[in-house]
Amino acid sequence: MTEDAAAAGGGGPWLLGVRHHGPGSARAVRAALEAARPRIVLIEGPPEADPLIPLAAETDMRPPVALLAHAVDEPGRSAFWPLAEFSPEWVALRWALEHGVPARFIDLPAAHSLARGSTVPDPADPAAPGDADTGGAAAGGPAGRDAQEQRAPADVRVDPLAVLAGTAGYDDPERWWEDVVEHRGAKGGDAFAPFAALEEAMAMLREAYGGGGQDRDLVREAHMRLQLRAARRETGDDVAVVCGAWHVPALRRKPAVAADRALLKGLPKVRADLTWVPWTHRRLARGGGYGAGIEAPGWYGHLFAAPDRPVERWLTRVAGLLREEDRIVSPAHVIEAVRLADTLAALRGRPLPGLRETTDAARAVMCDGSDVPLALVRDRLVVGEALGEVPRTAPAVPLQRDLDRLQRRLRLRPEAEDRELELDLRKDIDAERSRLLHRLRLLGVDWGEPAASRVGTGTFRETWRLRWEPELAVRVAEAGVWGTTVIAAANGRAEADAAAAQALAEVTALAERCLQAGLTEALSAVMRALADRAALEADVGRLAQALPALVRSLRYGDVRGTDTGALAEVAAGLADRVFVGLPPACAALAPDAADEMRRRLDAVHGAVGLLADVTDVPAGRAAPAARRGDGLRPRWQEVLRVLSARDAVPGQVRGRAVRLLLDDGRMGQDEAARLMGLALSPGTPPQDAAAWIEGFVGGGGGGMLLVHDERLLSLVDGWLTGVPAQAFTDVLPLLRRTFAAYEPGVRRTLGELVRRGPERRPGAGPAARTGLPGFAAGLDDERADAVVPVARLLLGLDGAPDAADGDRDDSDTGLVGVGT
């Protein structure tokens, strides 16, 4: 093996084993290419992307970008090969383009790797079956972090780096790699030396561990070997190969061509399309999913870009960031931090301070030991906000393809002129159309806008105004970063929005939109965010505001047949918090705030009623939700009772609490009357008492209460007549507001009752014929007979419409007359 390794230093082919996304590797690759000047560069990647390579030279192509491969018939099946500025593959690609040298991708074609995903669906992530295989391997690679390790713990593939690092006495393979390779760039010495050393180590490893238990690697390497052979036939030995270090020994081997061909025979295949998509550092850093799983893309980018003194430059940048955030960080801090980082590195036996040392130093010197400002450093610098760009000429993203497909299937043509669309959600196709439009709106593709319905309102009806603008295609392309299908992208976007949302109201709105768009997958993330925001929300008012909206969504979700178990649970939790926080929040309020609180009380009351209905039903399906819900109503009533009895609570709220309890039948009339008596007793300031009355009998149905319970009416009457003259003018506006809201008929009846005087009591006896309608013990024949003509008319039994008309007119004028 040693001769072979030495061959890397002499003539070609030069096999440059790298760590994917390793800045040190990237620098070494550049140096090696400069030294070797190969006539062709082969890079680990899907060969279908060869036609896309020239795009990398265009000025508006800016990494991080990713090669995206997807199955033509099934855009959801896709794989990504992310490339950052500091990726060795990218460096090799740019070098080849700058020097007019052909570059080629030599990995197994995406057509095969995507098809392979279909035969072995990854249970962990059904949305991206191909990704686990190709993207993970290409991005993390055998020489990098291995995404597959996390995804399939059953797969006991050896981690070559961990073995090497362990042998060298490191517990963390990443740190070992950084110390041994990344921090030791080719400084003046032999540009090929690091590659030779690495190849030797990998060769030893592969001797000990064989293929590492990965059959797929053997197939890929067979393909790479064949490609390498083809290249050598063209140009002789002036070939450079940039691939994961793990593959180098396998490429060095020279098995029979026939054997390699045999390995590649009969592989499953799908039609695959490739394109460039913009990528972000944040996505590079994301461990799972499409991310390459590198922790510190920003740091790596810095290491790659910094011409010298990386630690000093880095800590200066950290200081700059902290200064922007108004922390006092002087150059003296930077000096001390650099000293500390250097000494720490020495103490830890590292050749140069790494990210851990600089972070520890920044924490101790610049951040007063606190992790809070450090989180900012991590977010802005260590991960970084870099956003890639691809030229407009790059082929369309699969999201557009998926959208085309959906548009055809749902018979919704993108048209430039305005069009109105009526949807009846009870029909399947309309429901799907609605979901598509809602999803696109979530993605910022405002093709359709909800419009006011002309036909009628109802939860099963929606009206949209459609208009396809050319720039929407750009929006679709931008939305491509979120996923390859509309539903996957919408889910991804909603989850990201939920994580970024600040206010509780934003998240509740998002939950509603998720339900409308039928995004059950994102809903759980949104629910988590909602529960978290609710837990930390200190303003009960906002919680009380969020609850009705949430319960509405819950009912809406039910209409659409969405599983709303999680939603119900969160809503119940929200209700709990409202219950606890409401009594203290009601104390000592100004009149305006008290009115506001009374409205909230009503809203929460309604919401609790609905919620208790919902959570009680699916007892079998969602046990915890049901358990939470069963005591919801009693607990709420307990809160109302507390409110009604607490003196510090303003009159409106107290009165309203009594009223709500009374309406629910949770408080006897006697008790209500007692509380009213207390509230209206002479010691209470008239203002308070009037507020109490407003809370108690204000709003719909309050008048009927007074009409039907004369005891309450007499209490009000008694209090009103007892109000001192000078106070009367103060309470008059409140009272007027309370009573003016009643229906005319109710007001008239109340007026009559008051004029008649409070001495009569309901049910005093059949003798009192002038009493309240419907309250006598016996039947009032005279009045009952009066209904007969109308009834006959309605039933079509009577031929005398005039008499009936006259009757109705009478009653109308009677009611209206008193109303004014």
Partner: protein
């Protein structure tokens, strides 16, 4: 002109190599003398001036390990390795070290062992209180001498900090934030200029290489004297975290409770571990703002809820059950203590606590007794 302070002056400090066998609590350098000796004997790495051990050996002394000759070094600090590494490195770069943390995070313990390992002497200590005078940090006068012979070196009573400067060893300041702000600022000159002027004599004491200072402070305490930014800049700050896992915290609490219980002659209470675990869980969840299963966020109250407070809650509960209960630590015995520790601000903390009770405790299996007990206490 600079002078040196003779070590003999320090006789009153109780230092010196002669360990007193009867001491209630021996100093770190006495108690672990054999470990320090073994480390020093086998330490072949470079040592900074006047350090008894190399930085590597100091880190090993604190974190524990086995030496080449088989000597086992017991771990003095169980926690993130990073903390110790940064602390030792700070001392090696001649920056002062500030250890922050809530009560019960072993600040003093770490500072004592650091001083013992670096300088072989952990007794140069200034205890910070609201009444700490400037003399405790700079120097005082022996007034009999001063009156009899006038100002002279003999009449000077050096502070521990002054002695450390003169000898090139490590001084310690406990509870730095309790010291009045103007007295704190005395340290600025010492830490930045590394010199302590004595204007009365027209002299100064210059710090010898190897001098450094370790201060400890409680960062969550209210009503303390915050460090001025000028002073803060002279320190590298290391925050000592609370125990990382429930298990380790339960372990700390139960061990301490056991010790305290014995010294208070409380009868042993069987099966207290469940209740201890519960108290620790409640404290941790409220402190971290998230439940142990990581599923629900909760608000954090204004109190510190340190491990030390958990210990006192459990001790109080033990006393209650031993004297007034049936000898078994029950939820009702700790409920009042927990409530007292959590609800420091009657208005806001009470809401936090009730939310926690309703949203978390009520739902939890096997916690219904505790829930009821808390409801009774809180009603």
């Amino acid at each position: 002109m600079s002078v040196s302070v003779e070590t003999t002056v320090a006789a009153s400090g109780g230092r010196g190599p002669a360990p007193t066998a009867h001491a209630l609590r021996p100093h770190a350098e006495t108690a672990f003398a054999h470990e320090l000796a073994a480390l020093a004997a086998q330490d072949d790495r470079p040592r900074p001036d006047r350090w008894r051990l190399s930085p590597w050996a100091v880190a090993t002394y604190l974190l524990g390990g086995t030496l080449p000759d088989g000597t086992v070094i017991t771990p003095k600090y169980v926690g993130p390795r990073r903390i110790v590494e940064v602390a030792v490195t700070t001392l090696a770069t001649d920056r002062a070290l500030l250890l922050l943390g809530v009560p019960g995070t072993a600040k003093t313990w770490v500072s004592e062992h650091l001083a013992a390992a670096v300088s072989g002497d952990s007794t140069l200590l200034v205890q910070g209180t609201a009444g700490t005078p400037e003399e405790a940090i700079r120097y005082g006068w022996n007034y009999a001498q001063l009156l009899a012979r006038g100002p002279s070196r003999d009449a000077l009573v050096p502070s521990p900090v002054m002695r450390a400067m003169a000898e090139g060893t490590t001084a310690r300041v406990e509870e730095l934030t309790r010291i009045p702000a103007d007295v704190q600022d005395t340290l600025i000159t010492i830490l930045s200029e590394k010199t302590l002027p004595i204007p009365e004599l027209g002299q100064e004491v210059q710090a010898v290489r190897g001098f450094n200072l370790i201060a400890t402070a409680n960062d969550r305490d209210r009503g303390v004297n915050d460090l001025s930014s000028a002073l803060r800049r002279r320190f590298n700050t290391v925050v000592l975290p609370l125990p990382a896992s429930v298990e380790s915290e339960v372990d700390i609490v139960s061990r301490r409770v056991d010790q305290i219980g014995r010294s208070l002659d409380l009868p042993p209470v069987p099966d207290g571990i469940d209740e201890i675990r519960r108290v620790v869980t409640v404290f941790r969840e409220l402190r971290d703002g998230i439940t142990a299963d990581g599923r629900t966020k909760v608000k954090s109250p204004s109190g510190t809820l340190s491990t030390a407070e958990a210990i006192s809650v459990v001790t109080g509960g033990l006393a209650l059950s031993a004297h007034f209960g049936d000898g078994v630590l029950r939820p009702a015995d700790v409920a009042a203590g927990v409530l007292g520790a959590v609800v420091r601000d009657p208005a806001s903390d009470r809401v936090v606590w009730q939310e926690y009770l309703e949203a978390v405790v009520r739902e939890r299996d096997g916690w219904s007794d505790f829930y009821r007990a808390c409801r009774e206490v809180g009603a």
